[in-house]
Symmetry: C2
Subunit: 366 residues, 2 copies
């Protein structure tokens, strides 16, 4: 069936691609057990490490799967049921880490935060000096757009000698992230967020401490066996047929960012986010996050009669604009506007013009 | 880095795509939590079932991952360590099923076949009337291009009341496959073989018996939880962000095959395979499979001085032609020529012209 694709897309992923990356999608997908592809994958590994400010002896690997594949793989390869994890659960992605730990019978406690609330020093205090071995956090809890203070988390983990797993799926490139500085052992991300290539690949950078854990452990899932992935990636290969086309697009994107400089890319995203936030104030929305990531702005209509889901639906169907609806309990009260991907201030103009029209039509009101 | 992509590609995956499918790769990847995308996924489910001749109450699901993700998911969701499996191990993909069973501590016996040999009735006899509960087979053992007799297997499984899992990754569309007739409970395949869209998605059709097992069980891998996949697919969705672009290309491909008729597609592949096999006889190769699939022809140089890997390398580097090298023990003795993807008899002409040239140059000889 035909499906409309040419939306102006403010989703948090898949996002809009640059013309050149999008057009690469029309190129043939080559056979991959070749020296050429190996070299490309080794280059991907090196650039990803650099962009994360990883220690020189860190490794990176690429999985064919959703971002959740890397969340799962990190937990099930680095930890065992003999560990005890502390998980920051501030929304649906924090909850997902809890579910993954449960799936592999790894004991955990969770720090449950109210929707939109950030993690404070006092939230960590009750867990200080106890018997945890690992700490899992979504750097940006994407469901409500809350960016956590990773320096605070890093300090807590160092003090308590915890292995730190950071889901940076929606923060990588948008927000400041220095893997060495925070002492993270695993930082993971996905292809379809700020990297802005199609969904289908997720990736992670691993510290030597994480690598050693993986190499001495027994993977709990055959497909997500990071020991095999590390072994293969030594020569720039993967154990199974990867999403070759996406990995080639990823290479072009990583090379471009390395060339332009990470700060150029981050500042581009920040400019779009700041423009949006400067202008949204006069509309009848409340920003529901205490601590915003550059990636996304979560909005709730001030008037409880106005449905967040209806705004998503009308923008999509009548204006050709995608914003990101929330699921579950927040479906009617929250939607999100992403700032990643190939978006500009001019695209914000189009969104604000549509919001103005919704105001005129009385669909949106105080 | 730049990587050459415009090979004439006889690999067994990724394969060459039609121009129209390839060009779809340049379209924007839309946001997917929409009614449109749900409808497309439900259409994918329905057509896949039809093409596999599945019972009407069968289900299909789509995973973002390599073909191995579906092999893994089928084993770990349908079976438990209380089962006992019989696995046909005729090469690297049969071996992979054994490794997956081991990873999840599911007891199994394997029927080890010599490379290139088919499965005969007498190979099954020692296992008749015993305590097995499941049977795993790669319909085409792709490493050596051996197509097994699925009617024989189906009959054995019915008689012994075994749940039958068929990896049809490289046989789907190329070879006759009637899920209802053979009584298979799971048939799985991947996007990058005869479906000829990019790698990154694998999929399976499940009988009601398999669905019931999945629904009453506990998944052993969070990411590959088929219970969650089935639940989400009821409304045409997936638990996690899928490879949206590839699923849209897959939809176009499935619709085209449904329109043209499966037999048209199969006969196109068979024509290319038969043309190749008619003409390869005069060259200094031995076909190493007792029972050929339409998908691929495995060849071994008759003269042990001639390296199979060197032929792969020279064809790639000097002629821009990709054939499929073998790995491991067979690297020097076997390579494979695939017949799936957008290939024609004229493409065979180009390959034979290159082989003629290798003969003239003395690189290939009796």
């Amino acid at each position: 069936m035909e499906i409309k694709k040419d939306y102006l897309n403010f989703a948090v992923g898949p996002v809009m691609m640059s013309d050149s990356l999008r057009e690469m999608g029309a190129e043939p997908v080559p056979y991959f057990r070749t020296d050429d592809f190996s070299k490309l994958m080794l280059e991907n590994e090196q650039i990803l490490k650099e962009l994360m400010d990883a220690p020189e002896d860190a490794r990176s690997i690429f999985l064919t799967g959703s971002g959740t594949a890397s969340m799962d793989a990190a937990v099930n390869n680095v930890f065992t049921p003999d560990d005890k994890l502390l998980i920051v659960n501030g929304g649906s992605f924090g909850h997902r880490f809890c579910q993954i730990a449960e799936a592999y019978h790894i004991p955990y406690d969770s720090i449950c935060l109210e929707a939109g609330h950030t993690l404070r020093r006092e939230d960590l205090e009750p867990y200080d000096g106890r018997d945890y071995t690992g700490f899992l956090i979504n750097m940006n809890e994407t469901s409500t757009g809350v960016l956590y203070n990773m320096l605070l988390v890093g300090e807590f983990c160092k003090k308590n000698n915890l292995l730190l797993v950071v889901d940076a799926i929606s923060s990588f490139l948008s927000d400041e992230l220095d893997m060495a500085q925070i002492g993270a052992d695993v930082v993971l991300t996905g292809s379809q967020k700020a990297l802005a290539v199609p969904p289908g690949v997720s990736m992670m950078v691993l510290s030597q401490r994480a690598v050693k854990r993986i190499e001495s452990g027994h993977p709990m899932c055959y497909y997500l066996d990071l020991k095999a992935a590390l072994k293969n990636q030594e020569r720039g290969q993967t154990p199974f047929t990867p999403a070759v086309g996406i990995l080639i697009q990823l290479n072009a994107r990583l090379c471009q960012i390395a060339k332009d400089g990470l700060e150029t890319e981050r500042s581009r995203i920040r400019t779009v986010a700041e423009d949006f936030r400067r202008r949204i104030g006069k509309y009848p929305f409340r920003i529901v996050s205490q601590s915003l990531s550059n990636t996304v702005t979560p909005l709730s209509p001030i008037n409880p009669q106005v449905s967040a889901y209806e705004i998503f639906r009308i923008l999509k169907e009548e204006y050709g604009i995608i914003v990101c609806p929330n699921g579950g309990e927040m479906a009617e009260t929250v939607f999100r506007v992403g700032h990643i991907g190939s978006l500009s201030v001019a695209d914000n103009d189009r969104l604000f013009a549509a919001l103005d029209d919704l105001m005129v039509r009385g669909i949106l009101h105080f």
